[in-house]
Symmetry: C2
Subunit: 314 residues, 2 copies
């Protein structure tokens, strides 16, 4: 059992105006300190300008959260296109070139690259800056990043539960986080955790503060296990059966279309918790298989009803 600290700022899912009003009331209850610039003064760096990084960038610009957004990446042609499309204001291919002028840096690279990228950008950040990430696992990332602050730079892990099978900043949307949950790891300094929480909240997200291990155990069941299950199901479809797959099969296997290059590191970074979830699913599946094998209508009815009750509660 965990008891999430849920900062449910009843943000309207459509109204930018409403967001501002709510943000103002937040500021009233949690006054910014001198090292917490007002949103409009904030400089934001985004390392990895893809779907998530691009959505953070364009969301922050559209909502007036940052007056300058610096994209950091490896491919200058791609980054120039992101500038041309107004997703970022400028770019560098080497974090050291940007003089560490950001207040918040968001690392939005694949899970297996996040720890190195966090350390790299932290090493060139100005004192007082905060580094966060968007990785789907938290305990292994926090452990790999290691001790902070270095020179007054703080790391707080984040995980916005948003995304899609699409990738690249072409799919980025300023409202990607609107009404979606973002987990902020609560194992950092309280002030930094609060600032990072307010940042995601200002992007429209519902913020849930959790310790990294609890996050990983929950996500093993809600995200990583379903990915393995959907993939195992998609794998056994024979080509001549495709025409007989309707919306049920398509929905159940949708996430199996995700990029293996992204998902292998996610699943293996959370393998300890995922092992437990895989075993729990195997036991649950075995109950259904046994009931069907035994042609046991009353047991199957009970199992399906329990499943329906659980699903209907979402």
């Amino acid at each position: 059992m965990f008891r999430p600290t849920c900062l449910c700022w009843l943000v309207s899912s459509t109204s930018g105006g409403k967001f501002r009003q709510i943000n103002k009331s937040l500021e009233a209850t949690e006054p910014m300190t001198s090292d917490s610039p007002q949103p409009a003064d904030l400089v934001l760096a985004v390392l990895g300008v893809g779907l998530l990084g691009g959505s953070v960038a364009t969301g922050a610009k559209e909502r007036g959260l940052a007056h300058r957004v610096i994209g950091i990446g490896r491919n200058p042609e791609r980054l120039q296109t992101a500038v041309d499309r107004g997703i970022i204001d400028e770019f560098v291919t080497d974090p050291a070139q940007a003089n560490g002028s950001w207040d918040i840096a968001v690392v939005a690279t694949p899970v297996d690259r996040i720890p190195d990228d966090v350390r790299a950008i932290a090493s060139v950040s100005r004192p007082g800056a905060i580094v966060t990430d968007v990785g789907s696992v938290k305990a292994s990332i926090c452990a790999a990043v290691g001790d902070f602050p270095a020179d007054g730079v703080t790391f707080v892990g984040s995980h916005p539960l948003a995304g899609s099978e699409q990738s690249g900043f072409e799919a980025a949307r300023p409202d990607l986080f609107e009404g979606r949950v973002t987990v902020v790891a609560n194992n950092g300094p309280a002030t930094a955790v609060s600032r990072v929480s307010r940042f995601w909240s200002a992007l429209g997200a519902t913020v849930v503060q959790l310790d990294p291990k609890t996050h990983d155990e929950a996500l093993a069941t809600t995200s990583h296990l379903p990915h393995a299950v959907a993939a195992a199901l998609a794998s056994i479809l024979q080509s001549d059966q495709r025409i007989l797959s309707a919306t049920g099969f398509r929905d159940t296997t949708r996430i199996a279309a995700g990029d293996p290059d992204l998902w292998v590191p996610i699943l293996l970074s959370n393998a300890d918790a995922l092992d437990v979830s895989l075993d729990r699913f195997a036991e649950s599946f075995e109950l259904f298989r046994t009931a069907i094998r035994n042609r046991d209508a009353s047991e199957l009815q009970k199992l399906l009803q329990d499943a329906k009750t659980s699903r209907d509660a979402l």
Copy 2:
């Protein structure tokens, strides 16, 4: 390997006009006989005016396929409401009351009631009439219905791959079958199979003719197995993890919200084929579980890539 006879009448997904044109060309290549009334002269009976039966009724009326649609059911208040809403033209609660005046009768009751209902309505149909159904399994229904024709009445099994978690005629839509596959069992008399195929095609469906056993084996994998898998997954979600379930979990478990009263008979009516599919899934899932347990990145990459290739082909 099966080779479906796919009657892909490039029906526009929106244009009723286009449908008529294509239907006319079909009539030109397959002239109606004297006992095959022109669509506008057809009398249609629908036994079970729920989501599927109601959609057949309102679709046939809206497209001018039938000049009279008789609803048959048990609850006169509900049936009167369906008349008031224009879904059916009239109703009876006892098939014998309607003088067997229909040309085609569609049985759209739950799977475990279909065989009895088919025999009941066939026994009061006029000679030359055709009875079909919408059941999600075909071999057990065809076997339970038994020998036809009786007094010149013919049964041809159907399965439109359309539906939703919703139920009742309130959710019925005239375009429910538009662009969706409907399987027509090809084990009946060729003329009747052809007439039933044309009926579904005229409702906008892409018709695939298959033998009942091949249908059931395919649907075990594409529909019945995913239902058990989605339910097994939904069952293990803990209540405090709900807030951390995003679209991935929701899509993967969506069908687990289906009505157990409908799904127990479906799964158990196809239990022989489903046993095989459950075993195949268990083997596939075990490959993923083993790769994750062994932290075997290259094997996991291969498995996820195979799954993605299969899913992307849909």
